[in-house]
Symmetry: C2
Subunit: 334 residues, 2 copies
């Protein structure tokens, strides 16, 4: 039912997915959305979702009947599906594409936990192991060019269910923002002979003013040109373009750092809605020297307004130096 | 107090404006924001804002003491100001700029009117006359490269005050999104020998499927690749790159069409928050054959989520053909 559309001016791909309008709403009712009777993500309610494509942390039995700790299911209201579609007929002025793709939900706990910050070390690590594993599986599909991992937490961040979860959308195209980051990182590499993200870590480490947290494998800081108040980027110290190539020690360190970051942000900013997402290189491109996978985190404190949508630029009322100072005091990374 | 910042990867300009965090909040309290005692935009409360830089529709006396119908004031909590600032000291990795600029508020009615849709023909026209006039004044400032006109209506659209108003931000840089549209429009022109927006109007007129409203001077349609549900673009039939060169008949036709569009949207979608903004060519560039000024309108029905922020692409659950059908029935453009 979905299709890709692009116009010659705005340059963003649009996934037209009318089917997703049917998904139920657990938070304050959006116009015309169905309310939900019970949480489909809790253990014991497995029949409320499509059958799991993977489970993690099973003790004893495997699969949906087992004692799963993290469960991955196809999204019941997907933006894209594996069913081939004929492309829309469209005037030649516009670009269209088949709405082929993968849309999975990573259920991050068997109990009705509301925040990623509430997970213990092992559970948080299992979530990132699942992220990496599902991305690896996606890489094996030759029709998929990119896998976008992301979390929406809270209705202001676009979540429709409150049980802590993340999502993975695999697309046949390389998304606009990834293409743009790759292009600029490549230009930087060609001019300076170095990965721009590695350079950024050096600059931030030696300044220290914007550092939020760090551990053996990762550095977290508020970027110099933060688009949003309290935006945080988490970069692996070891240069690699692809998250799905992360080592076990890295997924463990990342899981704990992000969990502690969420906890710190919830204290400092009073449980805000937030998003995080992982930028990694397109499957067919990697490995490349000029790109460096990373995680971007931002609380949703303000609504993006007309200036931002019109200009494509951002007004941020909190300096990243101030934001980092406040978060640093509250993120006791373990 | 403001500064421009850009990092080498994200490619968006950020205006860092800590002063704007001090502005009071008329809607549901945002964390740490002051509540407002009385509406600073109502006639009789002129002393609550900086002195007017222009008034329109005065009957009898002119200026702040007069019977103004539309009043333009400097924003009390500006994103940018005319006071020169030294640029931030920054590592060479990052781009910085002086936070110079202009930030004005266009108060669209003397009474406490909540929606642009409530204005009568004359009042709506005065608003667009003020838009054009303020943009013309901005063009005379050699330090300003671009003027972004925009409206935030409702808290979900980024408004902090409910009295109907719009804003104009003049920047020393050409915004990222404008630069990108210009570049693609130029490419199209070089390949096809024609303005892409003129071509789009021809395509949409002959299809008809996405037309929302039209009058002598303007065509309004849901773009083929609408990023948001019920997004509408309004294009002048007469090719021109700059809104501030619009003729009197055009401002009148545009004002009425947009007013009727807002009324129609408020009926169909139950008074949603919305934004509109005007894309026009940078002052020093115009006139150019390849760009075509236009107005973009979108209700704020959903929250942009992690996929959109990560991918830079959009999931839209309402097809523009369906949206246009519903809006067409309710927008009786006069």
């Amino acid at each position: 039912m979905s299709e890709f559309r692009k116009d010659p001016v705005s340059d963003h791909w649009v996934i037209l997915a009318p089917n997703r309008a049917l998904r139920p709403e657990q938070f304050a009712a959006e116009a015309g959305r169905r309310a939900l009777k019970r949480c489909p993500f809790c253990r014991g309610h497995e029949s409320d979702t499509p059958e799991a494509v993977a489970t993690y942390g099973d003790r004893g039995q495997a699969g949906d009947g087992g004692q799963w700790q993290v469960r991955v299911v196809p999204n019941l209201y997907p933006a894209l599906t594996r069913h081939d579609q004929l492309p829309a007929t469209a005037p030649s002025l516009y670009e269209v594409g088949i709405g082929y793709g993968v849309h999975e939900v990573i259920i991050e706990a068997p109990d009705h936990v509301l925040s990623f910050g509430e997970l213990d070390d092992l559970q948080a690590e299992l979530v990132f192991v699942a992220f990496r594993d599902r991305l690896r599986r996606l890489r094996a599909n030759p029709q998929i060019a990119y896998g976008q991992l992301f979390k929406n937490s809270g209705p202001a961040a676009g979540a429709s269910l409150e049980h802590t979860h993340s999502q993975l959308i695999g697309t046949p195209i390389v998304p606009t923002q990834i293409q743009a980051e790759l292009s600029r990182a490549q230009t930087y590499f060609e001019r300076h002979g170095r990965c721009v993200f590695c350079e950024m870590m050096d600059v931030e480490s030696s300044s220290g003013a914007r550092i939020v947290a760090e551990n053996e494998a990762f550095l977290a800081f508020c970027p110099f040109a933060s688009q949003f108040p309290y935006e945080v980027w988490v970069l692996p110290r070891k240069h690699h373009c692809s998250f799905d190539m992360a080592e076990d020690g890295e997924t463990r360190d990342l899981a704990r750092l992000v969990r502690d970051l969420v906890r710190g942000v919830e204290v400092v900013l009073h449980d805000p809605a937030f998003n995080f997402l992982i930028h990694t290189s397109p499957f067919r491109l990697s490995p490349v020297s000029y790109f460096h996978w990373h995680l971007e985190f931002f609380p949703r404190l303000t609504n993006t307004a007309g200036f931002e949508w019109g200009a494509g630029d951002y007004i941020n009322t909190v300096s990243p130096e101030d934001a980092a100072g406040k978060l640093r005091a509250s993120c006791n990374v373990t």
